[in-house]
Every structure is written in structure tokens, then in C-alpha cells.
């Protein structure tokens, strides 16, 4: 996983609430067997009409708005657990998603892929949107080490929460799986002492025998 410490970038505003992962990447694009290439279909049905012509009123088709930060309305990433949503956002070139509320599974998926979900207050989200709409060149500074998001060149800043373990993983580019693999002995010890496990697992083997 790529390391993440700090970025300063212009942002793409998407002030829509309850964006579900079916919108981020529709189901018909989940047939791939690799993690790459999903960016082309990010927000596919909001971005293109039936003839695959870009819809001019959708923000990703608006050349005025670019950047590595996506700013979206409350409850971002709800619905399906598809990690393809995080892959698509990453693949498109975003490194950070800012919202006032994230769905659980999306948040986990994003963190596991080096995409930083930054949860800010509804008030601060409104301030960010207002700045971007007033000046599309507004830059946001997202500092993971300090856990702050600042509107660049202003004193408008807010601290965000992040699980300390996840923060360490992101800063160092560590995956959970590396850590879990290092725990093999503890996991095997757990299996030996779990009475319940032996009860339900042996019975399965008995059936299969």
C-alpha cells in the first residue's frame, strides 16, 4: 500500500447525500478480476448518458474542477460492500474523500487501499463547499500526521479523528494482512483452546467423511 502523509490539492465538489456504492461503480462493472481500471467507470451513470456521451452537468465532466480530493455529502459510500468503489475512486486519481459521515464498510475499504476518508463536521463541510464554489482554485491541505484539514491560506481548519492503528498503517504503507500473518502462532493457539470451534468444526468433518 502507498504511504500517505500529507497532500495539498484543489478539490472536486459533489454535494449529494447518501451516495451509495452502486452509483460510485455500478454492478455491471464488477466483472473484472484485477483491481485496476475501475476509474474509467467511476460514477458511470451520473457521468455518461446511454450513448456514452459525457453529461455536461456532472462535476467530473466539468474541467473547472479537478484535484486529488473529492468532497461529498453526508453518508458517503453506503450500500454494497464492493471494494471496487474504493478502487474506482483511487484509480480515478483521488487520494482523499471528505464528507461529514461515511458508511462503515466503505470507510474500511478505503483505508485498506490507501484512500483517506476524512470525516468533518457538517458545519465545516458546508464551509469547504462554500469556498470551493466561490473559488474553484481553493486548495485543501490534508495532513494525516496532524489529523487536520485546512482550507489553504486561511485559518479555517478542523481536526479529524482516525483510528491510531489505521493512521500508523497509512503513514507507513502497512497492510492489515502483514500484521495478521505475523500472528499465526496466536491464531493457532486460539483455535486449540476454543471449545466451540472443535464442536462445530469436527461435526463438519464428520459429515464430509
Amino acid at each position: 500500500m502507498e504511504k500517505f502523509k500529507k497532500i495539498t490539492s484543489t478539490a472536486v465538489p459533489l454535494p449529494i447525500e447518501d451516495i451509495d456504492t452502486d452509483q460510485i461503480i455500478p454492478a455491471r462493472f464488477l466483472k473484472a478480476t484485477t483491481r485496476e481500471g475501475f476509474g474509467d467507470n467511476l460514477f458511470r451513470d451520473w457521468r455518461y448518458d446511454n450513448q456514452n456521451t459525457p453529461k455536461p452537468d456532472f462535476v467530473l465532466n466539468n474541467p473547472l474542477y479537478t484535484g486529488k480530493v473529492l468532497v461529498a455529502g453526508k453518508n458517503f459510500g453506503c450500500g454494497s460492500s464492493r471494494e471496487h468503489a474504493a478502487w474506482a475512486i483511487n484509480d480515478y486519481g483521488f487520494k482523499v474523500v471528505i464528507s461529514s459521515f461515511f458508511a462503515d464498510i466503505f470507510k474500511g475499504n478505503a483505508l485498506n487501499n490507501g484512500l483517506l476518508p476524512v470525516q468533518v463536521s457538517e458545519e465545516f463541510l458546508a464551509v469547504i463547499f462554500a469556498h470551493i464554489f466561490a473559488d474553484r482554485n481553493t486548495e485543501l491541505e490534508v495532513n494525516l500526521e496532524a489529523q487536520t484539514v485546512r482550507i489553504a491560506g486561511t485559518d479555517q481548519v478542523e481536526k479529524f479523528d482516525i483510528n491510531q492503528y489505521k493512521k500508523t498503517c497509512l503513514i507507513n504503507g502497512y497492510d492489515d494482512i502483514d500484521y495478521l500473518l505475523s500472528l499465526k502462532k496466536e491464531i493457532e493457539a486460539y483455535e486449540k483452546t476454543s471449545k466451540y470451534l472443535s464442536l462445530v468444526n469436527q461435526s463438519q468433518e464428520e459429515v464430509e467423511a
Binding site: 454535494p15 447525500e17 447518501d18 452509483q23 462503515d104 500472528l183 496466536e186 466451540y196 459429515v207
Partner: protein, 470 residues
């Protein structure tokens, strides 16, 4: 027992599965059962391959093909090349890694959340995961079951464990008796309409109360299935005699003495009197009516005889922004009644409502009747075993005579990954769990409802209150 010793059902199961805890970090949670399907697993298997490691516990891992499978001619090769590729990839990965696969052609094949319970793979007190958000279904047995992303699928394949932060706990009590014509699908649509689609984010929900206790296992699964639709990581119901009877004799369930020993343990799985939840809600079952959604998320639901709300009626400030956009997509208007609205598509199936009980209910209702000429009615069983059972009980004949098309098992028109889609602009009454924009195909307009409401609508050709017909 002191207050601090009193545990919720969730806490009991969680605590029994913690391998170790990271200070200021997540718990390492042992996973008893891992269900795998073709859509969210290929990149995880590829990850193992890249690391040069295998599946840590193949006996705890079960795979099936469901999202991409066609629902006709399953004996022939899959026509759609990308679907075929993904399903073939699963077959190849399972063979390579020694994972048990119930793929196309196998008598156990079906939707991952239907086959787990029917095969006795799902048992009380377990932790279960799957790369699918509706894994919450299995909570009906008193398991901690939740959906995960592909990176987590890889973690579980590699180590049988997951790093998880303990969620907060919520209890929802439904007390009293349900009215005639009201199903468990209506209970959960009612709850989500009250809590909104983000209302349980960060929580694990326990469903309790006399109305929940009186439900069959299959009805309980419908409720737990949709826990994710209000943002909850999962939902669960304390196991009881209904649960134990359902499990008895199933293919992979403990048998004989083992079963008795297991039941003795399962009987300890309940929330202690006086255990504290972070939040608790209680609703009166008598207030629940047949429900229907009007918008583009499952929280936008009303009683079928209510009208589409006005913006001013939307309580949550944050939901107002989506309201106009939703209604524009759905082609509906504030104040409009949905009753009598002509509908051309009916879909009965999905991991929410494709079990034998759902098919029986619908068959009982449509027997001797015929669908309206404008209706395309698709019924898709959740598994090969459900399909077989429907045939043995003569349910297939009832559907044929009523003009319904009974297909072969799969996720079908729930999410439009296979050929079963609803055309752009058309309305579909669906027993599935999501009415998101484009969920049943680009431009499709989905109204979520119970199997009985779907059946009544199919017969009348327009949205119908089933209570008027029973």
C-alpha cells in the same frame, strides 16, 4: 451477577472470538465461517498467490457462484463472456486453493446467504463474513455476521482472522402481534423508514420483542438481511427453539450428541437481563402495515396506503437534499398515492425473499388466479434446493398456471449483474433489498415491498394493498 458482568448477546459472541487486542486499536477477531462468491474474491485469491501463501483454513471456507449466473439454461456454458470469465476464475481459484465450491450444476448451488443457513453451515454463536454486505442475513441464527471488502476477504483467506473495531450496540424491540397481510419484510422496511438509511451506522443491531420471537427462521433472515440498509454492520436475533429446530438434521449441522452439546451452548446465547445497549428503540407491531418504498434508498418507505411525503415531512435535515433528486428519478410526486399505479415488472427473489417460505406464501396467494396481461413476473428461487423443493410441492405448477416465470437460482434482477434487468424507466415491485438508482438496470425504477404485495400487484397489474384481497 454485577451490572458490569451483564453482557449483550453481541458482546458474548464477540468476546469469545477475540484472538488478541491491539492497544488503542482494533481486536483481532477469529472468523468461524467464510463464505465466498465470484465477484469479490478474484483479487483476494490473486493477493494470496502474489504472497505465495494458501488458504489458512479451507474447512471453514465455502464458495458458490450467484451474482453472475444466468437464471435460464444453467446447464449450458454462461453466454455473457465477462460473467463466464469471473465464474470460471472462481472455479479455478477454488480448485487451486482447495476451497469447497458449490458452483453451477451442484445441487447445493445458490445465493450465498440462502445456502449457508439451509446447509447448516450457519450456526448460532459463530462469527461469519462474506464479501457481500447482506452477510448480515446470518445474524438471524444469533451469529455475528457481516459484509467485508475484498482486502478483508484476502485477510480471512490468509489467516481466518480480521482486524475489527468493536461497533456500538443497538436493540430494536418489536412488541405485539402483526396484522394479517404484514410480513417480516414489512417490519424491516418499517424500521428503516423510521431510522433512515444511515440511522444505524456504527452499530450492531439486536432485534428482540414478542413479534420477532414469533417469526420463523426464514422471516427472521429477511429482517437481518436488510440491517445493512440502515447502515448497521449487522443484525442478530437470539437463538431459541425455533432456531434449534431449523438447524436439526441439516447437512453440515452437528448431529446426535454433538447437536445436543451445541444446543446446550447455544442456550446461553442471549442478552442478559439488565445488559446495557448504546441505544434502544421499541415499536408496536400493530402499527406496522404492508410497506412500499417510493424513493431511491430503502429508508424512503411508506405504508402502502400512505402518500409520497412532501419535502416538509422529511424529518432528517440531511435527507432533504436527496429527496427531490430521488423523486425525479422515480417519476413520482409529493402527495401522490402509489395504490392503483400501473406497474409492468414484478421480481420475487434475492437473498431477502427467495426462500421456500416466500415461494409458498406467493403460491398460496396466486393459486387459481392469473397475473395481469401487462405484468412480467419473475420468480427466482434462492438455491437449487429451494427450486427442487418448489417442484416437489407442486409450487412450480401453480406459478405456471398463474403466468409467472419460475427461473433457476441466483441473485438475478436484484442487482443486474446477469441478464435479468428491468428496462429504463419501467417500474418494478421487487422483493430485493435495494432501490438505488440503476440497481435493477440503468434507469430502472424499483419499489421494494413484501412477496405478498408483489404477488397482489402482479395479479392486479397495479400497486395493490394485499389486505384488500385476503
Amino acid at each position: 451477577m454485577s451490572t458490569s458482568d451483564k453482557k449483550t448477546l453481541f458482546q458474548k459472541i464477540w468476546d469469545a472470538h477475540v484472538v488478541t487486542s491491539i492497544p488503542d486499536g482494533p481486536d483481532v477477531l477469529y472468523i468461524d465461517r467464510h463464505l465466498v462468491h465470484e465477484v469479490t474474491s478474484p483479487q483476494a485469491f490473486a493477493g494470496l498467490e502474489k504472497r505465495g501463501i494458501g488458504v489458512f483454513r479451507t474447512q471453514n471456507t465455502v464458495a458458490t457462484a450467484d451474482h453472475n449466473v444466468p437464471t435460464i439454461n444453467q446447464h449450458l456454458p454462461i453466454v455473457e463472456p465477462l460473467s463466464k470469465f469471473q465464474v470460471d476464475k472462481l472455479t479455478e481459484n477454488c480448485a487451486k486453493f482447495g476451497v469447497n465450491l458449490y458452483g453451477l450444476g451442484h445441487p447445493f448451488q445458490g445465493i450465498v446467504h440462502v445456502i449457508g443457513p439451509e446447509l447448516g453451515i450457519t450456526l448460532p454463536g459463530m462469527t461469519m463474513v462474506c464479501g457481500d454486505s447482506h452477510t448480515s442475513t446470518h445474524g438471524a441464527f444469533g451469529t455475528i455476521a457481516f459484509g467485508i471488502g475484498t482486502s478483508e476477504v484476502e485477510q480471512v483467506l490468509a489467516t481466518q482472522c480480521l482486524m475489527q473495531n468493536k461497533p456500538k450496540t443497538m436493540r430494536i424491540n418489536i412488541e405485539g402481534e402483526l396484522a394479517s397481510g404484514v410480513l417480516s419484510k414489512d417490519i424491516i422496511l418499517y424500521i428503516i423508514s423510521k431510522l433512515t438509511m444511515g440511522g444505524a451506522t456504527g452499530y450492531f443491531v439486536e432485534y428482540a420483542g414478542s413479534a420477532i420471537r414469533s417469526l420463523s427462521m426464514e422471516a427472521r433472515m429477511t429482517i437481518c438481511n436488510m440491517s445493512i440498509e440502515m447502515g448497521a454492520r449487522g443484525g442478530l436475533i437470539a437463538p431459541d427453539d425455533t432456531t434449534f429446530e431449523y438447524i436439526r438434521g441439516r447437512e453440515f449441522a452437528p448431529k446426535g450428541e454433538k447437536y445436543e452439546e451445541a444446543v446446550a451452548y447455544w442456550r446461553t446465547l442471549f442478552t442478559d437481563e439488565g445488559a446495557v445497549f448504546d441505544v434502544e428503540y421499541t415499536y408496536d407491531a400493530a402499527d406496522i402495515a404492508p410497506m412500499i418504498t417510493y424513493g431511491t434508498n430503502p429508508g424512503m418507505g411508506i405504508k402502502i396506503d400512505e402518500t409520497v411525503p412532501n419535502l416538509a415531512d422529511i424529518k432528517e435535515e440531511s435527507n432533504k437534499a436527496s429527496f427531490d433528486k430521488s423523486l425525479a428519478y422515480m417519476g413520482l410526486h409529493p402527495g401522490e398515492s402509489l395504490l392503483g399505479k400501473e406497474i409492468n415488472y414484478v421480481f420475487i427473489g434475492s437473498c431477502t425473499n427467495s426462500r421456500i417460505e416466500d415461494l409458498r406464501l406467493v403460491a398460496q396467494f396466486v393459486k387459481g388466479k392469473h397475473k395481469a396481461p401487462n405484468i412480467n413476473a419473475l420468480i427466482v428461487p434462492g438455491s437449487k434446493q429451494v427450486e427442487q423443493q418448489a417442484r416437489e410441492e407442486g409450487i412450480d405448477q401453480i406459478f405456471r398456471e398463474a403466468g409467472f416465470e419460475l427461473r433457476e437460482p441466483g441473485c438475478s434482477a436484484c442487482l443486474g449483474m446477469n441478464e435479468d434487468k428491468v428496462p429504463k424507466g419501467e417500474y418494478c415491485i421487487s422483493t430485493s433489498n435495494r432501490n438505488f438508482e440503476g440497481r435493477q438496470g440503468p434507469g430502472a425504477r424499483t419499489l421494494l415491498a413484501s412477496p405478498l404485495t408483489a404477488a397482489a400487484t402482479a395479479i392486479a397489474g397495479k400497486i395493490t394493498d394485499v389486505r384488500e384481497l385476503i
